[in-house]
Symmetry: C2
Subunit: 124 residues, 2 copies
């Protein structure tokens, strides 16, 4: 049976920025926590929508051909599949991300920050 996940307790154990960790799975999706700080990278997920919920702090998501969106604590946004986007957190920001298991961290871009699904599945 599944266990209760306290998001802030899990986040407190996460020492690295831009390094999501899986905290739950359901129906082909992962629920992940991440700490974000600075600028990530422009990328897209051709086949996956991506739900962001800000747990603390502020997240700006730059979106191609669209005004940036700003998410504060308790705000949710879904980046549609195929849309180039770039998350930016001026100060440290904590998020819950929900997306299909197939979702690659930086889409079809590979950079130093890119984390494999195996990395993201390390217990926390």
């Amino acid at each position: 049976m599944n266990t209760v996940v306290n998001l802030k307790e899990k986040l407190a154990k996460l020492n690295e920025h831009w390094s999501p960790r899986v905290v739950g799975e359901f129906d082909g999706n992962y629920a992940k926590i991440a700490k974000l700080k600075g600028t990530f990278t422009w990328h897209k997920h051709d086949d996956e929508d991506e739900l962001f919920l800000v747990i603390s702090g502020t997240l700006v998501i730059e979106i191609e051909n669209h005004p940036s969106v700003t998410l504060n604590e308790g705000e949710l946004y879904i980046v549609p599949k195929g849309v180039m986007h770039n998350p930016i957190a001026e100060k440290e920001c904590h998020v819950l991300v929900i997306e299909k298991k197939s979702t690659q961290h930086t889409g079809d871009t590979k950079i130093e920050k890119t984390r494999s699904i195996e990395d993201q599945l390390k217990p926390i």
Copy 2:
């Protein structure tokens, strides 16, 4: 393009208990908000897992053949498909629920509290 959803602002507009409203969709799933108070009903979803995240208050989920789980603010739990469960909120509790679009509110049980998908899709 999608819009930013402030969960607390949406919840403030919801006047009815046990009446989920869809606030986002992604990859065949709905993100729903709900206000819970009292005891719901025992039911199961044969083909759908169900993710609960408590936004405020405390939610107890009774689970067949398993100790109840208690979720406080910021805590997440996934009820596996096929598992009989019964949500209980002694005091009003606010939740985010994420589940496949096919998920019926009370599973294969129909009671007075049951809300159709159409009801849940009413804009809020």
